[in-house]
């Protein structure tokens, strides 16, 4: 081996060791520098993707849109009824809290954001949204859509943030099955790349008796997600030797994700 090649190889190995042993903070600083240098190009790239998506949407057949409008009208009616019932319950709850001299501690500040980029990385199920630190967004905050839980903030930058989706294996959520005592950990599955893949609900009891269509909600445990956020519905149940696992169809259509809401704070 030529001396120059050997020196280059040794320098490279030293550099590789240095990078591999960087602290989490240093990594985040490098990422922040990278994304701030790339911000203009990211913005242009996102605009291009958004325009392309809007164009495809506009060309959707008008009859399909009319049918969708009718469905939405029906849904609005249903939600109005639910909302009025919810307001009654809220008033009743406030009365009870007041009666019990409970200090109101619940706050629910949200920021609306638009999905500007989908799947920017090879392996991870992530999207970028057009709201960041300047909107008060920090790491690990819940991201919701009107259909349910979308995911959590992974990396906030100044004017944009990266959201790790519920369909990613790394996004774990403590979940419960409606009408049962079953609780488990819900996450995406590895090796699923298309559309809205099924999620896996692990660590259920061995005697879990679940029916297809039963709804799955967040428990609120674990310090990440607020309770009672809809996650999906049970698709099937797989019994194991020590525990059971269920496949869950997510309530959110991740293919058609457009506007999302970041929960800034739910509790103080």
């Amino acid at each position: 081996m030529k001396p120059l090649n050997l020196i280059a190889l040794l320098l490279f190995l030293a550099g590789a060791v240095w990078v591999l042993t960087l602290s989490e903070r240093s990594v985040r600083e490098i990422q922040a520098t990278y994304f701030s240098a790339m911000s203009q190009f990211l913005k242009s790239g996102s605009k291009l993707e958004t325009h392309a998506r809007d164009f495809v949407k506009e060309t959707t057949h008008s009859k399909a849109l009319e049918a969708e409008l009718e469905t939405i009208r029906g849904e609005i009616g249903r939600l109005r009824i639910i909302e009025s019932r919810f307001k009654d319950l809220e008033a009743e709850n406030a009365q009870m809290r007041s009666a019990l001299d409970f200090k109101t501690t619940t706050k629910f500040d949200i920021v609306a954001a638009r999905v500007i980029r989908r799947h920017p990385t090879t392996w991870w199920q992530t999207v970028d949204i057009d709201a960041g630190e300047e909107h008060g967004i920090g790491t690990q905050l819940s991201v919701l859509s009107n259909e349910g839980l979308v995911g959590k903030i992974d990396r906030p930058d100044r004017g944009r943030s990266s959201v790790i989706l519920l369909t990613d294996e790394k996004c774990q959520v403590s979940a419960r099955v409606e009408g049962t005592p079953e609780v488990g950990i819900l996450s995406g599955q590895r090796g699923r790349y298309d559309g809205t893949p099924l999620l896996r609900l692990k660590f259920l009891s061995i005697n879990a008796n679940l029916q297809k269509g039963q709804r799955v909600f967040t428990t609120g445990r674990g310090g990440l997600f607020q309770p009672n956020i809809l996650l999906g519905t049970i698709e099937s149940l797989e019994k194991g030797a020590l525990d059971s696992e269920a496949l869950v169809r997510p309530s959110v259509n991740f293919e058609d994700l457009d506007t999302v809401f970041v929960v800034l704070s739910a509790t103080d």
Partner: protein, 188 residues
């Protein structure tokens, strides 16, 4: 010059969306430019490109650490260590340098095919790492096609990158086919 080309690839990569109809596969332009450059430059330059390329690629795609109450989230899902791409880039870079003599004789078609194979190996290594740190080896049909389409789409673009490198070298008074140029001069 190759370093600037690699940085330019990072910029263009931001404009390349995933192909939703093909298992969300994508063109890995950064890796492609690196592989094409690796076959045209000497070893120290290749290692410099591998270091810069790998570092920036990880900055582009690394996820944050898992969080939440460990009493609830008992099995934390690990991510790949920041910097692994530096090593992977160098490994596929050495692979490309293995056929450098053939490339220097002007037989670029072998290098073009090897870029596809190298991208496939790069993805396979990444996927193997993910399986290793997370446990439960999973390899399904979707994963196979995901690898296949990425390698194919990336490989199909390689002649364009080689052509670009050829013209950049020519405009700087160099050649990326020194053996072929010498032979051509001898026959003239």
């Amino acid at each position: 010059m190759t370093l600037f080309l690699l940085l330019a690839a990072f910029v263009v990569q931001q404009f390349l969306p995933a192909f939703t109809g093909f298992h969300h596969s994508r063109i890995l332009l950064v890796q492609l430019v690196f592989l094409c450059c690796a076959v045209t430059v000497n070893q120290p330059t290749m290692l410099l490109l591998a270091f810069v390329g790998g570092l920036l690629w990880d900055a582009h795609s690394a996820l944050g650490p898992s969080s939440g109450d460990p009493a609830v989230y008992v099995q934390a899902v690990e991510s790949l260590r920041f910097g692994y791409s530096v090593v992977l880039f160098a490994m596929v870079g050495f692979l490309m340098q293995g056929i450098q003599p053939l490339f220097q004789r002007g037989k670029w078609i072998f290098s073009a095919i090897l870029t596809g194979i190298a991208v496939w190996l790069y993805l396979a290594a990444e996927y193997a790492f993910i399986n290793f740190v997370r446990g439960d080896f999973v390899f399904n049909q979707a994963t196979f096609f995901f690898f296949f389409f990425i390698a194919l789409f990336t490989m199909l673009l390689s002649p364009l990158i080689f052509w670009g490198l050829y013209w950049i070298a020519k405009s700087c008074g160099h050649t990326i086919y020194p053996e072929a140029s010498r032979r051509k001069k001898r026959t003239q």
